[in-house]
Amino acid sequence: MSTTPRDLILCCLAGDEAAVVELVDLYRDRVFRFCYRMLGQHQDAEDAAQETFVRVFRSLAAWDRDREFEPWLLAIAGNRCRTMLAARKRIPTTGLVAEEQLIDRRPDGALLRSLREEVQLALLGLRPEHREAFVMFHENGLSYDQIADAIRRPLGTVKTWIHKARQQLMAQLRQRDVVGAR
């Protein structure tokens, strides 16, 4: 018998701890990956993902059952990531993106690794709100409507943000001469 996310949520609301674990297991990779794209660091992404779930369970009773769960979850994750990014601006750190900036130039498989790291680096160069919408669309597979609903922005704004994010990513890849590597 398969349990839908909605059933799990109802069980969570009834205080079923097993359902809490199951719901976290169901979404943890997607939330973590989203946070990782937003923040670029494993530890920060894990903290943000954990905080996201804690907040989700605290406000689960307020969740509008007419809305889809995943966009709501990712919207909370996006808020957490933007808060952490804002905190980063206030606290100067060293080597924040260092692990992503260390481009491996070794000949074996270097191109693929380099491409992956270049894209990750370019993603981190986007404005947080553009990045959030872009990752939701391209990585989490949400539609424009779902994103607009999740981040409470007009549909046109979401489309504009995602188009700008794409253009900036492509421009950066061209600028860093990654284009001809295919």
Binding site: D29, E46, F57, Q120, R166, L173, R174, R182
Partner: protein
């Protein structure tokens, strides 16, 4: 196809999650236009790069840590039960206070005139004359309800009407406790010396200025002096 149209078409395909490299129109234009060729190549690299992005996963105990954090601070069933009892007690106390307050107000509004049974105006058969005397002495109009003065004068418990209306009665700055008890009986408001002088003036002088009663010695002396001398 112009370059603007190329860009527009490219984004439209990306919006539909389709590979722009499979669009013949885009590829044909890109072959002729170096700028758009670079854009198409960058787009392809971006898609490849996104597909290559690490599929990182959180640590294994991630779910348990979340569960621990959501459980911390959540009261246990025993705590919740105790809280419920405490809240019920507080609620009951508040409700009782409100009830007493409402009853008190209702009683106040209905307390005049006070029922005769509560006023304790009970001069008995032998006391009927005393009661009548007191009533005539106090000659009080029943401002505070029937039986008020008699009950006070008889030293009985004050009636309920007085208990209930003490505030409005005593709160009146122009009212004095002896007002209305008897005609002409007023509180002393003048200075003590003036009052003493007034008392001296109103008490008959004969009582005040009468010489002191003679002592036994003086009477004896007087008798002796009145006796005629023995011949």
């Amino acid at each position: 196809m112009r370059c603007e149209q190329f860009e527009e078409r490219l984004h439209r395909r990306l919006d539909r999650r389709e590979d722009p490299g499979e669009d013949a129109h885009l590829v044909r234009h890109a072959r002729r236009c170096p700028e758009c060729r670079e854009t198409l190549a960058a787009c392809a690299r971006m898609i490849d790069g996104l597909n290559l992005l690490e599929l990182s996963v959180p640590d294994d105990d991630f779910s348990l840590r979340v569960l621990h954090r959501t459980s911390v601070g959540k009261p246990s069933p025993a705590h919740r039960h105790r809280f419920r009892i405490a809240w019920a007690a507080v609620g009951t106390a508040v409700a009782l206070s409100l009830l007493i307050s409402v009853a008190w107000r209702a009683d106040r509004t209905e307390s005049s005139p006070v029922p005769a049974s509560l006023t304790a105006a009970v001069p008995l058969a032998d006391d009927s004359r005393l009661g009548a005397d007191i009533a005539s002495l106090t000659n009080r109009t029943p401002q505070h309800g029937p039986g008020f003065s008699a009950s006070l004068a008889l030293g009985q418990q004050p009636p309920l009407s007085l208990l209930l209306r003490w505030k409005e009665t005593w709160g009146d700055a122009t009212w004095s406790p002896v007002d209305g008890l008897a005609d002409g009986l007023n509180p002393i408001t003048v200075p003590l010396s003036v009052a003493v002088e007034e008392i001296r003036r109103t008490i008959p002088l004969s009582l005040i200025d009468q010489p002191p009663a003679p002592s036994a010695d003086s009477v004896r002396r007087e008798v002796r002096s009145d006796k005629p001398p023995v011949a």
